[in-house]
Symmetry: D3
Subunit: 317 residues, 6 copies
């Protein structure tokens, strides 16, 4: 009986990696409305949007560069041997069309797209987009109950507001998410936090609601195995979201981002932390803040999609 | 009697061009509140803002790169011999602080800043920012009566709206300005328009209100002297604003911009058109859409400030 | 009665230009086998291949960068008002899969793909690939009789062989094409030839078979209208192929190519020559030698797709 | 009672980081002659100069790029919580104007500037400039007695001369400083030395005068805590200068420098060594050899100012 | 008695490093036919060739960039003090002239060149070129008996074929070498293997013939000393080749390569593994896959020649 | 009878252009002392030096990048058919070794090198280096009588001094040359002068001694044929030097230079002016101010060597 290979990515043994219309990981392009949309189990989605950016913009160009770089990804995990595209029906669902000149309109468009995925039973793997992107996704995924979250980042993104009262920026999404009841703070862990600070307002808030913040110094001291064991314990067995800001990684390894902080993990550690997520109940994941204008070479994007592949495997492990 | 050289730029014969805190054209930094603010006649202002950008962002970084490049500008015009910084008291007034995550708030902040300049009798020379920046400036400058405008650009920026009804983008400022009575359409000329088009909605509007649009083919055919004579006639003797979008210039000469269109004027022509503005009653001018992320080398910015120097001389000719 | 807009490109007013999976000019992706393949009238095809390159490689990456840049193209020609995607059913047919380590295998794969297009009645607009790409296309299109050709380039590509007898390189395709009877030399014109020369072997051959070579000095002296009138006369009314090597354009305007020669046309002239092709019986066209590694910024590709749009309009004029 | 915030940096919550005339760490610009100059306790000074460079020039552009990057620095240390700009009155004193075509003239200009700072009781934090910059600074700071020095670098900069007898280059400053009695060799430690060598003349000199050289292999083997404990012991309680050549850091993390050597510390280690300086009696510090032409992206400069912030905190700890 | 310094590199104390026609490590250019060719003991050879590349081309430009970067290398090893250019007569033998449009012709040209070196008793140190370059070198060096090999890489390069049967690519050289009896699989070790995989065909082959593959995870876990001790044991006392693919190193440290895999060793480790080769019977070594188009800054090349210097020292230790 | 091809460049038909140790135009490397040195008629010399640079340094890297780019030059002039390497014995004489930290020492080294060439009857074609390089060359070439000069530049380089009395910079060489009697002012013409000015001190001097200055506006107005006819008349039949500063060309065509001025000639005009030099009695020529750090892509260098080829042909016409 012949196998249905519709959901298998194109192999580089057949078509050279530089050829073809670039989709995420060379998967089929199956936008909403496509005849096989309903079969998809994990949907790779682009959210080309950076209206929440308070500093250097660019993540709106992230999904395209990530798609391009993702043609370098092959079919099998190097350590576990997992072949995710055989383990689940994965597809590139295309991009959510944002409104770059209207934040509220964009928030609604994104939330609507992900609500449809949730209804269709498709688990989303998102390529952002700045970090404000995570907020409407959480609004869609946490409709029934608050989620746990493992958050890799150099910033907490827990600030109350910017510029005299602006509530929706890439520095505030998780403050809003906690306030809206989308996250269960006791099941949230933030890893890699570092860099000079304005003040302690974000960390004070974390403490006050019970979010665990692991600064980079502790990360380097304790090592990945120990830190991630604690992270798994915090997230527990409930539904958990994984949000991975590329600026978690040291900016030398990932220069293509808007608000870098020196002194982060290297590229091997960037993959290792994902491997330690296996076993969690992951309802969605994102890779955000990849900003092509600051790394035209695409090295950041290649690291980004390498991480996305690891996250995908973690969702299936 | 000793001369007061406070408003003279630092000479490269004294301090090498690469040295010193970079201000526009090495002029003194005289922000509002500075003791000598009231003496300023022409104020160079940065508006680091690109929230109206529908395509590739970046102009929020324009003022800083333009300041850096402007340290290459010297004191005297090569053809006329005019020494503008002796002809008028010029200063760097600093940047208008925008709110990158709130368009309406930013529009108000910018308009307020320029209203103060108008009150103080300071003519502004602005370094944007995307083209939406011109709208709040016009709101401040055209309080008494509509202005004429000479507009160099590859686009008309006369569209009604984007993305299903969004009214404030860098593609709509002059539609708004006409609607708000800030511009007198019969005294507006748009020069250099080109590139593939969505449709003819913008040009139809121009025709309907009497704005003269000179496409690049006509520009190349007739030559600068002829085209600019017509432009001067259109603007007439009334108060006139000059808006110069760097994408007027061919993108090979000015790659650092978000929405390039091939086939524009070269760098010599980019200067020449400014020299043909002499004699107009210029109440303000801007250089917009310089986007450093797309030209890290700074060549676009250096052309931009070379044009700003020409515009400055035109304001004093 | 509702219009079938399947073959219309996505508008930037709906979906921002940076969003979406990039296809040529935001057309639908209709590879062979797609249900609507047979309806296509003009097919945009990528040939990501550079095995014929004797100098600096890179054009294998051309189609992807050209697709990316082509999302900047809109629906209507700025001068004629032609809306090509309404005038004909155009689609992105995807890439021909080459064998980067076997020239003969690749030549066969490409010829086979284009033979199928010819059978299906689809006129091809190709994005190369190095200039050897034109040879297998001509083999497919000239099955019945030799074609005329308008060839924009800085090199004749008429050499006999390289490196002691190697017959298939990007410097030899038209020598082979003449030898194989694919081109009618009396209906071939080569425009823009320049640069230092090894010897006169290529030009002697051209003279011997009656190919007209117009060097860049003559091009600049006579002007475009005069030169192109002669070109149209040479090509005549028969079936004609248009081959456009991006190195026809001055390398400052198009640095992303492997064998640049200084002193070529500027970007406006690069478009103008295409507009002068209107009225020819064009059976196919190509844009070759765009080499992304030498222009990561994508400016060359954006010029390349702007030329492709002009060629497309010429095919429909 | 209202607080005097004159010496506090502008917050990114008020003015976006990309806005404003860039001064070091967004501090006030207080050049000599400024009314509040005498209040300054720590002065950030640029020395845009590279006439001592024997290889690839560029550090003359360092101060400007460092100022630009420094707008990313916030107010508080991430680990100790120290808020240096509240702990001491810090200001940007501007640049020393060098003579790029006359080494002796420049040495005198620099020494004179720093002598004035010493007289005014201002501790300097310098942004170079190549490493020859440290010599005139030491001449100013060590007027009374020789200083100790903690020197981070991949080279000893202890050579006698270059090119047949040239005594003043960026490879000789500390040889001169020892000869001139500006440094007490027994209180000098050089950390991170590596790379291929011409010969052992520099290390022989170090040994002969009692300078401790810690090569990178020993640094990696022993770890930072151990190495820095020894460094603190060597420097002791006397007045100590800290000289930090950016090429101490691995060139992948800091490519913007003229004479890189592979195999150095990573960016986290680059910060950590500064944290281990706390408690020393630091009379001045510098960050030299940042060369923007070799890292236009500014990543090296951002690391450089992150280190400068750490050094500043060490001066106050 | 005066010393013959013909084979000594030019010192940077005499001629600045940026001056002079660049040869490998500033050694004399002694191509075959040169009067002193027969005296050479170790020959540095360029093989500017990438016809076996299945993905992104560029290594044909490697030798030139490596020569340029190599002018930064000095005369003495920083740890052992070895002065290789005094320990053996080394020279730059120039480049093997490849045929970029004919793989078999190039394979023969390269094998012929190296056969001549073997006849002349010159041990080769090669600068590639893609990894297919190693095959013809092995054909020349292994004429009498199979060699052992220490192979640093992120890929095994052991695949059977590509694109439906193409046997000679940069992904297949060592499969061919084993099949042709050029390598003794029991004396071959591959270190650093990582990245997503198509399948396990290459590793299955390795296992079946007895090649030891050490994946990066094991490398990081065990550490260099332990891994390299095993490598030395595997290679044993017989004639051994060392093949060093620059993509062994993490792509952040070595972006200039065509098929990067994230998570590799850093630059210090990249040197350390070479130092652990001392004592092996090395008959030749190569540094391959340096691709300048993907790192125009030359940082990858500088790391590449730093590794070449270490390998050279290992050949003499 | 076999031809001696020693002085013929290597053909790209034999050895691909990217292969081989790069010498100027692939000519033999014949430094002083080489057995065939005395046979050379035209010597190509590099002067890697920029100590006279008052602004952005970099030309010390010029010769190496120009050599690299020059491997693209072939054997025959495209218009005249002249084959310069057959018309005269040309060779790459290597670089003059400068002392980057001592201007007077370098001036002496350069003058000595060129005096030897003059003694040997070798006409020099120089690749700089900044424009101060021309001074010691003129000192060597004008030993008997003052020379005429055709000078292409955007600056006059006629200033008296910089930074309070520094006499030797790249802005003063021709002031010194006139003062020292090396140039006959009445036979000197400066073409292309433009850009903002400090003052008119340089032009006043020109006028006072009778140097003809042709500003860019006059150049564009009159056209090349007319301007160059006047230039030939000014230079007359006496010995004439040609000095070509790459910043004569518009900085978009030649970004790799330290002090650009917008609005210059394009690349075709850059070649044309050289063609109009035919018939002059040229005793030497230079191409200066090519600064690789500001154009890593090498486009400026490729234009530079294309101009050098034209100048070489002009010396032989």
């Amino acid at each position: 009986m012949s196998e249905d290979t519709f959901f298998h990515p194109v192999s580089g043994f057949e078509l050279p990696r530089f050829a073809g219309v670039p989709t995420f990981m060379r998967l089929p392009h199956v936008p909403p409305g496509h005849p096989r949309f309903s079969e998809v189990q994990i949907g790779l989605v682009g959210v080309p949007w950076d209206s929440g950016t308070t500093n250097r913009p660019g993540p709106r160009h992230g999904p395209r560069q990530l798609r391009d770089a993702s043609t370098m990804i092959r079919a099998q995990h190097p350590v576990t041997g997992l072949r995710p595209f055989e383990a689940a029906r994965c597809a590139d669902l295309g991009d959510v069309g944002p409104n770059p000149a209207d934040i509220q309109d964009s928030l609604e468009r994104i939330a609507a797209f992900y609500s449809d995925l949730r209804t269709a039973g498709i688990r989303p793997m998102t390529a952002g987009g700045d970090h404000l992107t995570s907020l409407p996704i959480l609004r869609a995924l946490a409709k029934d109950e608050p989620l746990g979250m493992v958050h890799f980042d150099s910033h907490t993104d827990l600030y109350r507001s910017y510029f005299g009262g602006t509530m929706y920026t890439h520095g505030t999404p998780f403050r809003r998410a906690v306030e809206e009841g989308l996250l269960d703070p006791s099941r949230v862990v933030m890893i890699g936090i570092r860099g000079t600070a304005y003040d302690t307002e974000d960390r004070d808030f974390a403490k006050s609601v019970g979010i665990r913040v692991i600064p980079i110094e502790e990360f380097h001291d304790r090592g990945i195995a120990d830190v991630m064991a604690e992270a798994r314990e915090i997230a527990g067995t409930g539904e958990t979201y994984v949000s991975y800001d590329i600026d978690f990684v040291d900016p030398t390894f990932a220069p293509g981002t808007g608000t870098p902080e020196v002194g982060g993990p290297n590229s091997f550690q960037a993959l290792q932390v994902c491997r330690e997520l296996a076993g969690l109940n992951i309802v969605g994941a994102d890779m955000v803040e990849v900003s092509p204008p600051f790394d035209a070479s695409g090295g950041t994007a290649f690291l980004g999609v390498s991480i996305m592949f690891e996250l995908l495997c973690a969702m299936l492990a």
